[in-house]
Symmetry: C2
Subunit: 374 residues, 2 copies
């Protein structure tokens, strides 16, 4: 399909195996002579870009929070979730193309990962804001794991001024409401989608014109379940395809960073509240893991005293229970190591959530102080 | 001293304790009403900035490699080494101010951290290149842990076009050759400085004018050992202080990114060679830790078979050595967990070194292909 449709740019997520990337690279070499894989984490970021045009430069930004290493069943932590940037030039117009994949939402009712995903959305927005100025056009594509109305999407769009290709498209073809995770797809978990019979839209193409260029979305398409001529779909998510019309203009268009201020203040405030909720939870976990480590240490000390006592012949009358004693000592050491590791991890989490909260506070102050120069 | 001398900007490193930061903030509030601490890692990045002018925006970029968690005596890994960026506006001129602290060099003869420090220097240069375009002036200050002629400094300066305030200064006052780590300082390890009787210069102020602005370094100073009126110095490194003369110009100056191409090709090639050396070492460690994990697993399986055999009464004649058996099992589990953890860590290290090597290869190709437009 990628070969047939001849796109200019292809942004893929969840290409976990580098062998898969190499295979793709080999097969796509004819249509997409340029490509880049973003390495990160233990497994890899899963992010890669194929391009018909030379890739001039790349940069990877790893999010500071990405779930918990001990949630093995939700392997997000091991993937080192990141945003990848490539710079390319098409007909003299410079494109900053960002590809990303934010932390998954495993349970919408009780979404323990929401603070982490919001930190990621904030860092993504900040990274784009700080790196976009040399570009004429900004494109962001990826699995954002957020519904169109979620606070994280509103923050990202408001803070960067990116526009949603689905909302702007002159023509649309594909799943109803542009959904990309649909119950029809045989790879999706049906139970998760029960509240959303049509599916949800969590994969996006966002864009923005920076300088003397205009961007219009002529057409947006999604795949719809099974691949043509096959029983199974291409992937668990539907692919999103946008046709953008990009034109040079005579005069520079003012760079409007984001939405109108009052609305933006609300969005940042809402996000900050969620981050503070996450911060409180992280502080509680830091405390309880720290307490467990101290208890394990006390148990070990107690055992050491008992062992010394036995050696000194204080309880010489009774046989010393060597086996259960050493099993208990090993257990205590295990708990001590584990609890210390978790304590360090949650200390880091607290610091990052605090840092983000501070940044948001600073942003709010700047928003409220500055005259409405939009 | 910070209060007396009334600087515009103060960039600090190794402020590990947030309490220290809060104390500083309280004491300096009068002269430096604006400040920012960059949170990262378990301990913190140690980086903070005090400013006489409002801080408009901040961004933190964590380096992907930063030593080894098991090198506890060289705690670099726990600090989450990063580069922090603040944006500030002074008399209508926009400044991007970067503060950083790269991985320490513990042994210059056999510097096992060189590949990590070079990855950091590369990421620092890339981060600056991608974020500088909205600014009029770029300032970078910090402990780079590299001597002026080292490949990492040449890469950083060549790839970004940053100029060394020490080399450009019209006047200089302070330690000979601008050294910032000197044997005279009572906090430095004298043995490390034996080959350098005058000391070494590893702390820098670098700068660059981007748009219609010129920057000149009028004066550079360092502290010289003991603080005035005291027996001890301010810190283990001498502070570097620059007076910069910044002037608006009528016309925009062309942005020259970096040094002349042929020299830059040499520097990037040299860095890449060192990164490849690090990659080979990381691959060897990944292999040996993987092998150790497999051996521990085999030992555990062997024990399981023996235990099952004993249960089935195959060796009923002999008493089963419960204590040493369980001790051995715990040892095997410990080795298995440790070796698996290390294996995952070195897998990550290999990926990041590979990724950097690829980026450098791409940069070299771009440098060699493009016509010499400087």
């Amino acid at each position: 399909m990628l070969r047939q449709d001849g796109f200019d740019l292809v942004l893929l997520q969840e290409v976990w195996s580098e062998q898969d990337y190499s295979d793709l690279k080999g097969k796509l070499r004819g249509c997409y002579p340029f490509s880049h894989y973003f390495h990160s984490g233990v497994i890899g970021s899963g992010l890669c870009i194929f391009s018909r045009f030379p890739i001039l430069d790349t940069l990877l930004y790893q999010y500071s929070l990405n779930g918990y290493p001990y949630m093995l069943q939700h392997g997000d932590w091991f993937c080192g979730k990141s945003v990848g940037l490539i710079v390319t030039k098409i007909s003299g117009i410079i494109f900053n193309v960002y590809v990303t994949h934010l932390h998954a939402e495993y349970c919408r009712e009780k979404d323990v990962y929401l603070p982490h995903r919001l930190v990621q959305a904030w860092e993504l927005a900040q990274f784009i804001r700080h790196t976009l100025t040399a570009a004429d056009v900004v494109l962001l594509g990826g699995d954002l794991n957020m519904h169109p109305g979620d606070v994280g999407i509103r923050l990202l769009r408001g803070w960067t001024g990116l526009r949603d290709a689905f909302a702007e498209a002159a023509r649309f073809e594909g799943c109803e409401d542009g959904c990309t995770l649909i119950p029809n797809n045989c790879f999706t978990a049906k139970t998760e989608l029960l509240p959303f019979p049509q599916g949800v839209r969590i994969d996006y193409i966002l864009y923005k014109a920076i300088s003397s260029v205009t961007v219009k979305c002529e057409e947006l398409k999604t795949t719809t379940g099974t691949a043509p001529g096959m029983d199974i779909p291409f992937s668990d998510h539907e692919a999103v395809m946008a046709t953008l019309h990009i034109q040079r203009q005579g005069q520079a268009v003012g760079d409007n960073l984001g939405t109108a201020e009052p609305m933006l203040v609300d969005v940042v405030t809402e996000t900050r509240t969620e981050v503070v909720v996450g911060l409180r939870a992280a502080q509680r976990q830091r405390y309880s893991t720290g307490r467990m480590a101290v208890l394990a240490l006390l148990l070990l000390l107690l055992q050491a005293v008992a062992a010394l006592g036995a050696l000194a012949g204080l309880v010489a009358g009774q046989p010393f229970p060597k086996l259960s004693f050493s099993l208990l000592a090993f257990l205590a050491i295990g708990v001590l190591l584990l609890a210390t590791g978790l304590h360090l991890f949650h200390t880091m989490e607290v610091k990052m959530l605090q840092g983000t909260e501070e940044q948001m506070r600073m942003a709010l102050r700047a928003l409220q102080e500055r005259p409405s120069d939009g």
